[in-house]
């Protein structure tokens, strides 16, 4: 019935057309879709292999249209390294949350950058552990209340959050590191641009590429969608500044 009309926007073929288990408003769905759109637009669905983490997005292997791996908690970068080194012509990405990347998987997440692996990591940062019911994450903000910081994160005993993008941008092996946010339409557009740049780098044999995406977790923050977007803006962006932390393509362009 809409056959003759031009389509301005439609669900991407980079994702399988299935309902997801994510909570209403959860931005995993948005970020998944952006990756799907990027794969579709760059025409790489057929040669991309993604690695899903353990966390809310553990079932991501059922959502992306490309070949997928489910990895052990924190180990996606190592799995991706094995895939990429064995298949250098394929595009490989990992999709990870705060626990997966910045807690148990910190070694793997750092070393994949140090080695300059020609892959992409999409790091979904929502300051909390979602899947297991809202515990403190390495990215939980000082004073933030979670299941394991019920009185608010006390930096004296529970330490400080990790700004992972800044940390890993210091490594010579890092090629492109950017932090973005999906709290509004313009942010989503910027996020897509960053993801596309990262994947294009991977296609061009450049790495290591990391896009850290500030995201919401309405369920475990105890806020509705609109409140969550506001909380992200007011609390997360000041602590986790948006922007490019490293971009070697700029150096190469000179």
């Amino acid at each position: 019935m809409e056959n003759n009309r031009e389509i301005l926007f439609k669900p991407t073929s980079g994702l399988l057309d299935v309902p997801t288990h994510y909570c209403p408003g959860c931005t995993h769905g948005v970020i998944h879709r952006l990756i799907g759109e990027v794969m579709e637009e760059l025409d790489i669905v057929d040669k991309t292999i993604g690695v899903a983490p353990v966390g809310c997005s553990v079932l991501a292997y059922d959502y992306f249209a490309c070949d997928m791996f489910e990895a052990a908690h924190g180990r996606a970068p190592a799995v991706a390294t094995g895939i990429k080194r064995a298949n250098p012509d394929k595009i490989v990405f990992t999709y990870q949350g705060d626990g997966d990347l910045a807690a148990i998987g910190t070694a793997e997440a750092v070393h994949v950058a140090a080695r300059g692996e020609k892959i992409v990591t999409i790091f979904v940062n929502n300051c909390i552990y979602g899947m297991t019911g809202g515990q403190m994450a390495p990215t939980t903000l000082p004073g933030q209340k979670t299941e394991t910081s019920p009185y608010g994160r006390d930096v004296a005993t529970q330490g400080y959050p990790i700004r992972f993008s800044e940390m890993v941008a210091q490594l010579d092996g890092s090629y492109y590191i950017e932090r973005v946010s999906v709290d509004k339409v313009a942010g989503v557009a910027k996020t897509k641009k960053a993801i596309k740049k990262a994947f294009q780098n991977a296609i061009d044999g450049k790495g290591y590429n990391l896009v850290e995406v500030l995201s919401i977790c309405p369920t475990n923050w105890g806020l509705n969608t609109e409140e969550s977007l506001g909380w992200l803006r007011e609390n997360m962006i000041p602590y986790y500044p948006l922007g490019v932390k490293k971009d070697l393509s700029k150096e190469e362009a000179k």
């Binding site: 809409e2 009309r5 301005l8 926007f9 669900p11 209403p24 769905g29 948005v30 879709r33 989503v188």
Partner: protein
């Protein structure tokens, strides 16, 4: 005029599209889908106000939305 089509059975009533729409024409419909959510939608009489910006589609986490020119 642009037309927005919502796949109601996939909508989780999260409100991202409602928040994102710059002309504020998206609301929640008056019925429930199979999952028990109240799907988002644009009343027929407001569709003519749609500017085809696709912000709704871009903020939707659930592949609910298609926007036609």
């Amino acid at each position: 005029m642009p037309k927005v089509v919502f796949r109601e059975e996939r909508c989780k009533s999260c409100g991202q599209c409602v928040i994102a729409c710059p002309v504020k024409i998206i609301g929640f419909t008056d019925h429930l889908n199979e999952k028990g959510y109240r799907p988002a939608g644009i009343p027929a009489e407001l569709m003519e106000k749609c500017i085809g910006c696709t912000s709704c589609g871009r903020m939707c986490p659930d592949l609910v939305i298609t926007v036609y020119k």
